[in-house]
Symmetry: C2
């Protein structure tokens, strides 16, 4: 049997063994949603993550939710009550916020390849645009002029450092994101001269950070870099967006970030920072860390069979809904997300099985050689840590299969 | 500069340098479709692939098109005129055929995890069901009994062999597809006793074969295995579905299959086969091989920038439409599909650039360090070999970006 990732600590079993999510047993959730495959998101888990963030971090920090992690409308509505704003990367994401009645909330709009129509939509929505290049800066200013609006513009800087898994510094490969650091002071001064609403800097270093020391080092270097650029430009930054990338443990051997230690080190770094940052509002944009643990993906066992001596549970779900759990179609090494039989939650392990989805590819594995209570067709499989980069990251049209249902509790 | 895959030989340039697809210059195609990103599929290329297949293969062979490769309705309508049937793996695919007015055409329905409602829809549609397990066989018979229909059932056998890239035999891992070969004779006799419309066997060995010798070996072994099973069962097989998996070269160093040699070896294998296969209809199911080269993905350059000394063209497309060209978000090693500046087609190489999509991930690379004519924002990038496993295999909801357009010419 192979190991699985750590089960998030938020879930219990009803007396009949049904997994309970947000106070409701899984069979009732399925009845309410109308069937499987089903994503259930528990708002309370999201709320408690945001509370943990607030409790740890210095007051006055802006928390932006990254819509790309999960853009389910009901989740956006809930999250909108507790964050300072949203991070969007497309007009589609702006429209999702508008449909969730969040049109007036602050937004930062990042991402390479913003077209003129996208810049126009973002400026109309009042978003702060993280500029990725000289050409984009010119076009944003021209679009705003046409609209008769002073655009909110920030300068995205591609950090010249990155921190590897072992805490050592790595060279950063060229990439389409932001300006090289040495160009940034001139770009900032150009924006000031163009009389835009200059909103500061955006420095995004990576994603899915789980190494607390590495993240602390990245924050420290980012604040230093921002200070150097602000000094060189001779400009006090209104805002410094540190990016995000706080990870969530989903796989065996992964451990949660120590958010309290991250926050304390951030305070230390800020105390030593350039005077040009003394009045700067700090912001952090988080997606996965806020929503990943809130989500459970529920599928139903359709078939049980033995192939070459190994037992398989074949379900009605798969990588077309949760590609992160199956592994991106062949990327080695695939590792197991936490998994359970959702109508026998907490029951003892009785057999080693491989749980697959229904797709016609050998890569559609939800649990490889995992220990579970005995299950038969009709039983339910739960995959945890399914709240972030599920449906939006998955090839939902693969094999023209039914879409997954979503339920917020 | 890094190499790219071989440019398919079907495309020419108009006198003004516009790439011509199906007789139309790319700027007119974009105008007709209403913009970029755009997939253009050329029916003539699909037709000539089917003609090549017919010319090479023994007469009487059934060709089934695998809908999963590309389920664009207009393509299905075109292909339906030239093939004996379709291979489907979901009710959604059956419905796509019905919408394309192909409801009456023969279908084979394969795939693990078929639910009762799927079995019912497939039996109603007259599909031949490739049975994947004992449990599925029982359920299919029960469903057909309920409908008062004699179901068309075939036995899918998981081959106990596979051929590696170097032509050597590999061990096959346990998987959810089909029956173990030693169970097959008893299963076949059970179906005959149950008085179903027994349709023979389905043996699928792999996909994206590009090694002619390996494919020949696989066909030979498959026919031997089918003969052994038919002998053991004492049953003449009505049909033997050899699966498909003919590959298309998309990457550097890949060469096309020698289909004539595959066909000749198939005839040899059939001549030596068990008498129980003497009256068997042979079928092959192909997706990628039929449609891959017909498709071109057209994106527009939105930004040109330099990062750490490297020049980037940022486009309005990306891996949310054609994940196979960008590499499944991080799977190493990513290699370049054939790529061109579509409004300067055939012009000399002037610069080395990295062409990216618009997604907020460093993996969204359409061409890594490729040599192209000089291009600026507004110019067009074409990615070739984009006709198979494009939209359906890609995370189209990623970052809530616009869907790609599709045009059949």
């Amino acid at each position: 049997m192979k190991p699985t990732g750590p089960l998030p600590p938020h879930f219990t079993a009803a007396s009949d063994g049904q997994l309970v999510i947000g106070g409701m047993p899984v069979n009732e959730l399925i009845a309410e949603a109308g069937g499987t495959p089903l994503f259930v998101y528990d708002n309370n888990i999201i709320g408690s993550q945001i509370t943990r963030f607030r409790a740890a971090m210095p007051s006055g920090i802006n928390l932006y939710y990254s819509v790309s992690a999960n853009s389910c409308q009901e989740l956006l509505q809930f999250i909108g009550r507790y964050v300072e704003g949203f991070r969007v990367v497309s007009v589609g994401e702006i429209e999702r916020l508008q449909r969730a009645e969040l049109a007036g909330i602050p937004m930062t709009f990042a991402g390479p390849g913003k077209g003129d129509s996208e810049l126009e939509a973002a400026i109309r929505a009042g978003a702060t645009i993280s500029l990725e290049s000289e050409g984009e800066a010119e076009r944003a200013i021209a679009v705003a002029l046409g609209l008769g609006v002073k655009p909110k513009l920030a300068v995205r800087v591609d950090p010249p450092f990155s921190i590897g898994d072992d805490g050592s510094e790595c060279t950063v490969a060229p990439n389409p994101f932001g300006f090289d650091a040495d160009e940034a002071p001139a770009v900032i001064n150009g924006l000031i001269e163009a009389d835009v609403d200059f909103r500061g800097m955006h420095i995004f270093t990576g994603s899915q950070w789980l190494d607390t020391d590495a993240l602390i080092k990245v924050h420290h270097q980012t604040i230093n870099l921002a200070g150097q650029i602000a000094d060189a430009a001779g400009i006090r930054l209104p805002e410094l967006n540190l990016g995000g990338g706080f990870g969530t443990p989903c796989l065996q051997g992964e451990w949660p970030l120590d958010i309290d230690r991250v926050a304390k080190a951030l305070c230390d770094s800020l105390r030593d920072a350039s005077d040009m940052l003394a009045t700067t509002t700090l912001s952090i944009e988080l997606g996965r860390w806020i929503v990943a643990e809130s989500g459970v993906y529920i599928t139903r066992v359709v078939d049980k069979k033995v192939s070459a001596g190994r037992t398989f549970l074949v379900t009605d779900g798969g990588g077309h809904h949760l590609i992160g759990a199956t592994g991106p179609f062949g990327e080695p090494p695939r590792r197991n997300h936490p998994i359970a039989i959702a109508n026998k939650f907490g029951a003892p392990v009785e057999e080693a099985v491989t749980v697959t989805g229904c797709l016609c590819t050998p890569f559609d594995v939800l649990g490889d050689d995992v220990g579970l209570p005995a299950a038969e067709p009709g039983d339910l499989v739960a995959i945890f840590c399914a709240g972030a980069y599920g449906l939006t990251a998955s090839p939902q049209a693969w094999e023209s299969r039914p879409l997954a249902r979503e339920l917020v509790v």
